[in-house]
């Protein structure tokens, strides 16, 4: 096909320190890294996909109980967190753009902003978890109890078992997402350090770009988690 890399034994290219020995050209190296990142994101889609599948099955079975459990989440904090993540995606995109145009100081600023936003997200998430512990909404702990009734059915109390399934999924999915955020913050700390050394420049910013792809992906997962977990059956 058309993308067969035309690699020539170009010895001059090997004097470039950023070019690893087994690649013929910088172009080839860059394309390889980018494809690798996308394939990694494929595995991430399938990783979260397993949990989304479990979610779908139980939401289909226990729709009413899921509605009640969902409404017990703090919508304000959830919305704020969504906004925080969207802002962080913008700062990441800006950081990559700064590398493209060669504004090396601005890269660091945007990366630090991203880290701050990422930490803010994690902080808010921690507050939400704390609330769930205080309210006895943690599955598997003795004393789990969710007050309330099925949406629009004041006479049907929520099923405690099914509510536990909801919260199990909630903790598994948001927990796995938070783990990705923590990894992301670590990754961006490294990138910010490298950027402060002036490593990323218009010709070479692949690690930064791939880090950005990762961050955007984690953002997209949240874009789905937010309505699926927080916004089930909230209407009166």
């Amino acid at each position: 096909m058309h993308n067969s890399p035309i690699a020539t034994a170009n010895h001059e290219a090997h004097e470039n320190p950023a070019l690893l020995h087994h690649f013929a050209t910088e172009e080839q190296q860059k394309n390889a890294a980018s494809l690798g990142m996308w394939i990694f994101l494929v595995t991430e889609i399938m990783f979260f996909g397993g949990m989304f599948c479990a979610y779908l099955v139980y939401r289909y079975w226990y729709f009413g109980d899921f509605g009640t459990a969902s409404s017990s989440l703090d919508l304000t904090l959830g919305t704020v967190n969504t906004v925080v993540l969207i802002c962080s995606s913008l700062t990441v995109a800006m950081a990559v753009r700064c590398a493209q145009v060669g504004k090396q100081k601005a890269i660091v600023v945007y990366l630090l902003l991203t880290i701050v936003l990422g930490l803010a997200f994690l902080g808010i998430k921690a507050i939400e978890y704390k609330q769930k512990f205080d309210e006895n909404h943690v599955p598997g702990l003795a004393g789990f109890h969710l007050e309330g009734h099925i949406p629009r059915h004041p006479d049907i109390p929520v099923n405690q078992q099914h509510a536990q399934i909801y919260f199990s999924l909630y903790f598994a999915m948001t927990g796995m997402h938070a783990l990705h955020m923590i990894i992301g913050v670590g990754l961006f700390t490294y990138l910010a350090y490298k950027a402060s050394k002036g490593v990323y420049r218009p010709g070479y910013y692949t690690p930064l770009e791939n880090g950005g792809l990762y961050w955007h992906f984690v953002d997209i997962v949240w874009i789905y988690l937010f309505p699926l977990l927080y916004l089930i059956d909230r209407h009166p």
Binding site: Y62, I156, N159, Q161
Partner: protein, 310 residues
Amino acid sequence: MANNVDALYIFLLVVSALMSLAIFTMVVFFAVRYRKQAGRSAEQIDGSHALEITWSVIPFCVFMVFFGWGAALYFKERKPPENSAEVYTVAKQWMWKFEHMEGQREINELHVPVGRDVKMIMTSQDVIHSFFVPAFRIKQDVLPGRYTVAWFHATKPGTYHLFCAEYCGTLHSGMVGSVVVMEPKDYQAWLGGGGNQPLAVTGQRLFSELGCVTCHRSDTQGRGPNLAGLFSKPVLLEDGRTVAADENYLRESILTPAAKIVSGFKPIMPTFQGQISDEQLNALVAYVKSLGQQSDATGGRGIAAATSQP
């Protein structure tokens, strides 16, 4: 059923044997005929779409015969005939507990009459087990939290192996038993032995003891739906869905009543999850089903009679 399964099995065996014979013969023939010889070198052939299509389409057609035959058999295996004798089965690590409609209880041994359809209504108290009687060619996993169903029709008296076929922990291989198929008269004699209370009667007693009867009345005045004639009928639910009132529906409605509210009723029934044993649950289900088989009037009387108890 065993004969039907064996017929398909033998058909598969013959077709596979022919296919492998053809392939093995070709491999051996080519290996010998075209071995390296002086003065002859390999003739290059790039392939042939015509041949490739042939050996895709022909096997595919044969496979579709396998599929169709296997599927037809499966539907027969999975759908118990009406009016089968019913045996409620509770599996646990590592034993089989059976309860006949007539009230006989057995452990690891199942007595059934020859020439009668027998429907196993099974659940597990702990992990997944699997009810497997090789002689009848049937197998069905037994799951915690719901009923699964299997059926068979024994044609020859004798004693047959019963195995648990799904790995279930330490003594998985000890979770074995036997199915004793008896001549009808022997079976009747065996049934007559115990002076047991029929399962539905046990269920009826529970029905009043647990207070079910105060709401599920035989008239239309009850706070709960009238259960007479309910079994296997479609039920219209409050949320507009219609479900079939099968064993799993009855089970769920007793354990988590709020899950499926019958149209026109309020969800006031308390849950019985964790309050009754699997055996009691089976008895209740058997009782409600028995209401379906009797005429409404008899069912009503049965309940009315039971109301006199405290």
